[in-house]
Amino acid sequence: MNLEEYKGIYVFIEQREGEIQNVALELLGQARKLADELNDKVYAMLLGHNIADQAQSLIARGADEVIVVDAPELAEYTTEPYTQAICQIIEDRKPDSMLIGATTLGRDLGPRVSARAATGLTADCTKIEVGKNNELLMTRPAFGGNLMATIVCKNHRPQMGTVRPGVLFAMDADESRTGEVVNYEVKFNSAKFKVKLLETVKEDTDLIDITEARILVSGGRGIGNQEGFEAMDGLADVLDAEVSASRAMVDAGYIGHERQVGQTGKTVRPDLYFAFGISGAIQHVAGMEESDLIIAVNKDKDAPIFQVADLGIVGDAKQIIKKLTQQLEK
C-alpha cells in the first residue's frame, strides 16, 4: 500500500428519514480543522434516496466536496448496501481517513466497512489530532473509561474512526464557503442483500435529546424511587431543564434509556449539570465531565462524583431538591 496515494478526510453523513444528524455536522467541523492542519480536503459522503437537496448545506459546514450517492437501495439503512457504497468510494477515491458517527448505525457500518477494506477502525474516539508524520492520533476511553488510549493506524488506509455524538464541535454554517457537489453512482450487488427492514418503530414520540439541553437535572441511586424522580421533574420545570439519570436508575426502570448519561448512554456537555445522589462511577463521569458547571449532592462525602464537581454538597439529595425548588419558585 502506497500511503502517498491516499488523500482526503472523508466524513460519513448520517441521515435518518432525510434529516442530517448533528453528529455528522460535528464530524465535519472536526474534519475541517484536521484538513486545514494537513493542507488536505474534506469530503462529505451523503448516502440515501432523494437527499441531494441537502448537499449544499454540508459545504457551509466545512465540506470541500459533497459526494452524493442517491439510490433507492439506500432509502433506509441496512448494512450491506451502505457497506457496498462506502467500499466502492474507498476503492475509487482512496481516502486518507474516514470518520463515522458512533451511533447504532455507525457502529454497525464502521466495522463492516473496515473489515471489507482491510483497514483499522478506532471506536468511539473522544479526540483526534495530527501526529508527527501527518498520521491521525485517535484517543478513546478503554476499560470502561478508566484508561485513555491513543490509537494509530500506521500502514493501512483509510484511517477510520467513529466518534460519539456530542463529543466534537460543529462549525457555524458559513454560507460564503464554496465547494463542489458530485453525484456518484454505485453498482450494487443485490445478491448479497439478505436483511430486509420490515418496520422502524419510534417508541417515544416527543423524544427529548438530553445532549441538547442547556441544564440537566440528573439523578442516581440516592434519589431512590419514583417520588424522588417526580421531585427532580419539579426542579427541572422551574429551571427549564431536562431530567437525566445514571445507569442504575435506567436499569431500575425509573427512566428511559434515552435519558441515560455515561459510557453506555449519552455524552452530555450542558452549561449546568446537577448530579443528585449519583456516586460518580467512572462510566458515568465519562459522559458528563465536560459540562461547564457541575453541582453534585451526595450523602457520602467520599463519593467520586465530588472529584469532578465544581460545587459539592454533602447531604440528602431529596431534601435539597425539595428546598431548592421551593426557593426558586419564589
Binding site: 454497525d108 483499522g120 478508566n146 490509537i151 493506524c153 439478505k194 417508541e203
Partner: protein, 261 residues
C-alpha cells in the same frame, strides 16, 4: 438448528478504580467475568435450545484461564465448548481477532452465530460485524430479540436510538446481542459439577482455516500509540452543611455563573 456463541473473558471494569494519588489503574483483585453482552447472547441461544432443540456451541479466544467461562457455559447448558488459543493470536486488535475467530468458525456448521454487541474492556463493538464480513454473512447488531420463522429466516428486533427496527434475515447470519435483551440463567448445581467432567476442545492455528498474515500483531492495522489514565481535574468546593444553607450556596453559585438573575 446449530448455534455458535462467541464469548469473551473480561475484567469486571465496574470494579476497577483509579488510585487517586498516582492516577493509575488498580487492577488487583478485579474479578474476571463472562462479558455481559456475550452472556445475554448465550442465554438467547439456550432459550432457542429450550424451545426447539438447538445444538449450542460456545467458542472463546483467550489465554488458558479463559477456560473458566467455558466451564460456566457448560454449567448453563451448552453442548460443546471450544477454546481458541495460540501464541500466533497474541497482540491482536479487533480485525486480527475477528480473523482468528472467523478461521475457527469456518470449521463449524451453524445457522446462527451470536456474539455480544461489545466487550466491557474495549467497548468497540467491532468483532461481531468483522467476523460476519470475513464469512460473507449478513449481520444484525444491537439485537434485542429474535424469532426463528422456520424456513431459514429469522425475524429480529434491533435497538436504535429512537426505538427499534424489525428485520427479516436469511440464515445463516450473525447477530450481536445487547445485555438488556434478557436475564441470563444461573448455572445449575448439577451443571457446575458436570462442567468439569466435560471436554473443552483446545484449538490453535493448526486447527483453523485462516491466513497467518491476518493474525496477531502482524495482522493488526491499529496499534496503541500511548495509554494513560484520564487526568483528574482539581476538586471543586465541598460543603457539609444543613439543607437551608446548602440551598443558599447552590443559588449563590447559580447567580455567580449567570444561570439565575
Amino acid at each position: 438448528m446449530n448455534i455458535v456463541v462467541c464469548i469473551k473473558q473480561v475484567p469486571d471494569t465496574t470494579e476497577i478504580k483509579i488510585d487517586p494519588k498516582t492516577g493509575t489503574l488498580i487492577r488487583d483483585g478485579v474479578p474476571s467475568i463472562m462479558n455481559p453482552d456475550d452472556k445475554s447472547g448465550l442465554e438467547m441461544a439456550l432459550q432457542l435450545k429450550d424451545e426447539q432443540g438447538a445444538h449450542v456451541t460456545v467458542i472463546t479466544m483467550g489465554p488458558p484461564q479463559a477456560d473458566l467461562i467455558l466451564r460456566e457455559a457448560y454449567a448453563m447448558g451448552v453442548d460443546r465448548a471450544i477454546h481458541l488459543t495460540d501464541r500466533k493470536f497474541a497482540g491482536a486488535d479487533t480485525l486480527a481477532t475477528s480473523h482468528a475467530l472467523a478461521g475457527a468458525l469456518r470449521k463449524i456448521d451453524f445457522d446462527l452465530l451470536i456474539t455480544g454487541r461489545q466487550a466491557i474492556d474495549g467497548d468497540t463493538a467491532q468483532v461481531g460485524p468483522q467476523i460476519a464480513e470475513h464469512l460473507d454473512l449478513p449481520q444484525v447488531s444491537y439485537l434485542e430479540d429474535l424469532k426463528f420463522d422456520g424456513d431459514k429466516t429469522f425475524t429480529m428486533k434491533r435497538h436504535i436510538e429512537e426505538g427499534y427496527q424489525m428485520l427479516q434475515v436469511e440464515a445463516p447470519c450473525v447477530v450481536t446481542v445487547l445485555s438488556s435483551a434478557n436475564s441470563p440463567r444461573y448455572m445449575s448445581v448439577g451443571g457446575i459439577v458436570d462442567a468439569y467432567q466435560k471436554e473443552v476442545e483446545v484449538w490453535g492455528f493448526n486447527e483453523i482455516e485462516v491466513d497467518e498474515k491476518d493474525l496477531g500483531l502482524k495482522g493488526s492495522p491499529t496499534s496503541v500509540h500511548k495509554a494513560f489514565a484520564r487526568g483528574l481535574k482539581p476538586a471543586g468546593e465541598l460543603y457539609e452543611v444543613e439543607t437551608d444553607e446548602a440551598v443558599g450556596i447552590i443559588i449563590k453559585k447559580l447567580k455567580e455563573k449567570f444561570i439565575l438573575n
